[in-house]
């Protein structure tokens, strides 16, 4: 079921966040967690046998899945993109300041 896939993605993201030492991999794990939550959010709106929520030639009267989670996920994806961009430029600055992206090596440089 789709719910279990999204929870597995969240688990993979949390594993990556804690066990990896490279800062860029933390950013990728954050992106995986966001993707997992978005997939969960969309999948709770599905109704079997119904169509996409747009009034058109193919569906002139209402026969739709739940449109509200789709609107929410639009916002959540955009927020995730904004945070990802900010994280990427911070990684550039960290590399420029410390010369390395490895957490262990940075501990020696900072002390």
């Amino acid at each position: 079921m789709v719910y279990y896939i999204s929870i597995a993605l969240i688990g993979v993201g949390i594993y990556g966040l804690i066990s990896q030492k490279n800062l860029f991999k933390h950013l990728v794990s954050l992106s995986i967690i966001d993707t997992g939550v978005n997939i969960f959010l969309i999948s709770i709106g599905y109704v079997e046998g119904k169509e996409a929520p747009i009034y058109s030639i193919f569906t002139p009267t209402a026969n739709f899945v739940d449109p509200l989670p789709q609107a929410l996920v639009l916002t959540a994806i955009v927020i995730g993109v904004g945070i990802l961009a900010l994280g990427a430029v911070l990684v550039v600055r960290v590399k420029e300041k410390y010369g390395t992206l490895n957490v262990e090596e940075m501990k020696d440089v900072r002390r």
Partner: protein, 240 residues
């Protein structure tokens, strides 16, 4: 050792989450009449109920054929204002943090195919992006994907030319579009008594000129998102 502990923690979180989704109805078997979306779909939030039919119903309370657009821009338009603000402040932050860095070169001359194809493909990309956000209330898409496609055109310009720099006018476009969005909301107070109220007539559902202020807001959002993502693309091309 660290990998083992983090695996335990991740498995623990996964088990807790699986416990939490027990009471959710099964996948695909949702009863829509228990949720607020039922009123959004039948466009009867203010109580007046009428069968909605494509290209037939006139002057409904909310006239866009794309129900997701009607939720994003009209019923929950304040969330969209917040989302536009998130993009705005993160684009501003990227510009602020990367100030003082210079344009990074790629180290080799761009491919001949790339350089000639840009001249042909770029106008098509911009046209496609504008089409998507102008028709946001009729077809899937809207301001956000349309703006993203515009910024991909700018990325293509960056990839094919080592000297290209995005001009400062994109900031003016960004600020103006954002102010226009807030001013449309304030006009809603002036004409209808509520912030972001729909004060233009809604017309026949399914036509291009319908749904009141929804296409106008999506055009504004399309240009704003295009300018912001182009700024982010430009600033991420820098290095110290």
């Amino acid at each position: 050792m660290r990998k083992f502990l983090s695996m335990l923690l991740a498995l623990g979180v996964v088990f807790v989450l699986i416990e939490m989704i027990e009471p959710i109805p099964a996948y695909g078997k949702v009863d829509l009449s228990k949720r607020v979306s039922e009123k959004y779909v039948s466009k009867s939030v203010s109580g007046f109920r009428e069968e909605v039919a494509y290209k037939k119903s006139k002057n409904l309370e909310e006239g866009s054929a794309n129900v997701v657009t009607s939720i994003v821009v009209n019923y929950r338009g304040f969330d969209t204002l917040g989302e536009v603000t998130v993009l705005f402040i993160s684009a501003f932050g990227v510009g602020l943090i990367s100030s003082g860095l210079k344009r990074k070169g790629y180290g080799r001359k761009p491919n001949f195919i790339l350089r000639t194809a840009v001249g042909v493909v770029l106008p098509l990309i911009i046209l496609f992006g504008v089409y998507i956000f102008v028709h946001g209330h009729l077809t899937p898409g809207g301001g956000f994907p349309g703006g993203t496609i515009l910024s991909i055109g700018i990325l293509l310009l960056y990839l094919s030319n080592e000297e290209y720099e995005l001009s400062e006018k994109s900031k003016v476009l960004e600020g103006t579009s954002g102010s226009l969005f807030v001013i449309i909301g304030l006009l809603g107070i002036a004409f209808s008594g509520a912030f972001l109220a729909n004060f233009l007539p809604t017309g026949v559902i399914g036509n291009l000129f319908s749904a009141g202020i929804v296409p106008i807001i999506y055009i504004v959002i399309g240009f704003k998102v295009g300018a912001e993502l182009s700024t982010i693309v430009a600033d991420l091309h820098k290095e110290g």
